[in-house]
Amino acid sequence: MINWDPLLLTFKLAFITTVILLVISMPLAYWLSFSKTRVKPVIETLVSMPLVLPPTVLGFYLLVAFSPSNAFGSWLDRWLGLQLVFSFEGLVFASLIYSLPFMVHPIQSGFSSLSKSLIEAAYVLGKSKTATLFRVLLPNIKPSLLTGVVLAFAHTIGEFGVVLMIGGSMPGKTRVASIAIYDEVESLNYDTANTYSLILFAVTFTILLLVYLVNGGFIKQFWK
């Protein structure tokens, strides 16, 4: 019987990361789509950095920053009781940064594709900014939201470098599936590695397939 812990941990990490990212990314993407301030290119760059930065680089700096022997790390520990190195919280934090562009970009392009007159029409009809966002804008970019959620989720499942640097491989705490696979291969347990890999393959395939079916309108056809 295989040890399910790494898989459960992976999905728990991906789920928590995705939920938090969704909440953060909606206002961030809204701001990036409609703001005209001069600092916007800088923020856009920062959001997109994880796309091009080697995950080990990101993980290394996070490791250094959060280390309790450094000012920031000890401050976090003293004031918030947070130890982000070699802990699950640390993994969540690193995943948030690492998967941020995968959530923000689809939502941002969704907002940008909407006609500006939709917003203006809502304002003229007396609707506040919040009401416009929740009643008009978000319902009209559902496919973009779904794409963002799925990409962020799948990307978090697949991360390796960042997790290894900041989390290590502590069973039940930071040993996620991708790292477990690596460990099993190292110890020549090809069968176990294969089982983990197959499960990850099947799950990610199914998720992506569902997205394409939903966004392509195939599901709706069968419901009607």
Partner: protein
């Protein structure tokens, strides 16, 4: 009464342009802003609606200031009681026709929504999404939605430009009916002369951000070369050649009139031309009809 006296630097296709004008619109009148594209017509509507901020000046509506650069007043669009019909209609794609209207009205708008759906003959379409409607149908929804909150001012930004002729005539009729029914002050942006002639009480012609002509449709569009007592403007619908004469069908208001023209007059015309029909040599016959 709407009084606009504003200045605004605009980026037009031909570079910088200073919009600098004073415009008035009487209560319950239908005023048309006319002019070439890029003359500043839409910008005026947007500033009146609060979607664009003037650099300087005042916008007074029925005695209260919507914008006043000296006193630092700038009411947000949410606070200005207006109905606005956008050029692309801006219907909310996620809501049905009825939901678009209900969302616009908020709380207890059931009754007015029902009335408007009836007035614009949308009953059969009320549960459809805007994406499945034709241009003319979407236009009617946009019109109805703009009126749900019972605004005093209705603004229409080239509402009919994307529609075919027949649909245009029908919607002109809807707009006029609603304009009277709801006692609206209506501001229309248009560059279709027959539409303007048919609908407006007053025309304001703009060019490069300035008012160049202003007055009733007759005053603005009729040339003064003919001093005829009877004159109408219309649109050429059809030209038929018969022997050496031309029979020209002209739409004046809602009536189709046939006029005989000689070769010289007839050959210079094409269907779609705007023409002046005047009589000066003959004495008209007057007969009692009631």
């Amino acid at each position: 009464m709407i009084e606009i006296s504003i200045q605004k630097q605009l980026q037009s296709s031909e570079g910088e342009m200073l919009l600098d004008l004073q415009v008035r619109a009487e209560r319950k009148s239908l005023v048309t802003l006319y002019g070439k594209s890029g003359a500043g017509k839409t910008s005026i509507l947007r500033m009146l609606a609060g979607l664009m901020t003037p650099d300087k000046g005042r916008i007074m509506v029925n005695g209260s200031a919507w914008f006043d650069s000296e006193r630092g007043i700038d009411q947000p669009p949410q606070k200005r009681k207006i109905g606005f019909v956008f050029q692309d209609y801006a219907l909310f794609p996620n809501m049905t026709v009825k939901d678009n209207l209900i969302f616009a009205g908020g709380g207890d708008s059931e009754n007015i929504v029902k009335d408007l759906i009836e007035l614009t003959e949308l009953k059969a379409l009320e549960n459809r999404k805007p994406g499945t409607l034709s241009g003319g149908q979407q236009q009617r929804v946009a019109l109805a939605r703009a009126l749900v909150q019972r605004p005093e001012i209705l603004m229409l930004d080239e509402p009919l430009s994307a529609l075919d002729r027949e649909m245009r005539l029908k919607l002109q009729h809807y707009i006029l009916d609603l304009h009277r029914e709801f006692e609206l002050t209506t501001i229309l942006v248009s560059h279709d002369i027959s539409e303007i002639l048919k609908m407006s009480d007053r025309i304001i012609e703009l060019d490069h951000g300035k008012v160049v002509r202003e007055g009733t449709p007759g005053e603005v569009f009729t040339s003064r070369e003919i001093s005829g007592k009877f004159q109408f403007t219309g649109e050429v619908i059809e030209i038929k050649k018969q022997d050496f004469l031309y029979i020209i069908s002209i739409l004046i208001g809602k009536d189709l009139v046939k006029v005989i023209a000689d070769e010289k007059e007839g050959s210079g015309l094409q269907p779609g031309d705007k023409v002046l029909v005047a009589s000066k040599a003959f004495n008209p016959v007057i007969r009692k009809i009631e």
